[in-house]
């Protein structure tokens, strides 16, 4: 079982690496860390405490803390969506923490809300099929950073390159063509 201290240490170390700070409101921070701990215990990964997770790793991947939306949100609003990570001016109390609008696309949000079917037997069969369909619908591709060469296999390119900090526009899709000869 993961401890609250471990959750805190992980967040602190990640904030340090990226030049961010943890929310200065200690009570609020404690609530967020407890939420992360609870999600890690029930799902096996620390899904964002302020978003509805599905429990399916493939669906929740973009909202595992630190989520895909953190870097652009901290840059634009001074805090990430749940406000665990904040910018220096927010940490210093110069800028207040405001609710951050959801950047995650609606189509990804709605994947956590299942569409129920009529009977239990039908439901079981459908759930299996739906899960398979869901995973195949999440079309992953290879993306590379044109600035530093970093390669990633996921649905969309990252907002910011984790290696050289280049913006999303710097990413291009890698397409592999197989040519038969002879």
């Amino acid at each position: 079982m993961i401890t609250l201290d471990k959750v805190r240490q992980r967040a602190e170390s990640d904030a340090k690496t990226y030049g961010y700070h943890l929310n200065p409101d200690q009570k609020f921070l404690q609530d967020l860390l407890e939420g992360l701990k609870q999600n890690e215990e029930r799902f096996g990964y620390p899904a964002c405490p302020c978003r509805l997770a599905s429990g399916n790793l493939e669906i929740d991947r973009d909202v595992i803390c630190p989520c895909d939306y953190r870097d652009p949100d901290v840059a634009e609003f001074g805090a990430c969506y749940c406000a665990l990570y904040v910018r220096t001016d927010v940490s210093d109390g110069k800028t207040p923490v405001q609710p951050v609008p959801e950047r995650r696309p609606l189509e990804k949000q709605t994947r956590s809300y299942a569409t129920p079917s009529t009977t239990t037997a039908e439901k079981k069969a459908e759930l299996g099929a739906a899960a398979a369909k869901e995973t195949s619908r999440i079309g992953k591709k290879l993306w590379y950073c044109r600035q530093c060469g970093y390669v990633v296999f996921r649905e969309d390119p990252p907002y910011v390159c984790p290696i050289c900090k280049a913006k999303r526009e710097m990413f291009a899709e890698i397409t592999i063509g197989i040519e038969e000869r002879g």
Binding site: E34, G35, P99, P101, L106, Y113
Partner: protein, 94 residues
């Protein structure tokens, strides 16, 4: 759906809150309503069944809201996404 009721002196409006049990903003909203003595009902959406989730999604989207928590529904009509204190105060006349 496990709906919890929090009693309060201010019963002017019917206040319903969709929250997440792990969400710090939702916790803040619950506390704010309690401190303001507003009577309200809430449900922790992450504790709901698939059928209930579907109903919640339809309800929120039909009222023109987004699936961003906390979601406050006043008098089954006005929907507020997020802990926007000024907006909540204005809508509830606090």
């Amino acid at each position: 759906m496990k709906i919890e009721k929090v009693l309060g002196k201010n019963k002017k409006n019917k206040v319903f809150l969709y929250a997440l049990s792990t969400c710090a903003w939702c916790k803040m909203t619950k506390q704010f309503l309690k401190d303001s003595e507003v009577e309200f009902e809430y449900v922790d959406v992450d504790q709901c069944s698939d059928e209930e989730l579907d109903t919640i999604k339809k309800d929120v989207l039909s009222k023109g809201g987004s699936l961003s928590y906390p979601i406050i529904v006043v008098n089954n009509q006005t929907l507020i996404n997020g802990f926007r204190k000024d907006k909540i105060k204005e809508t509830l006349g606090l």
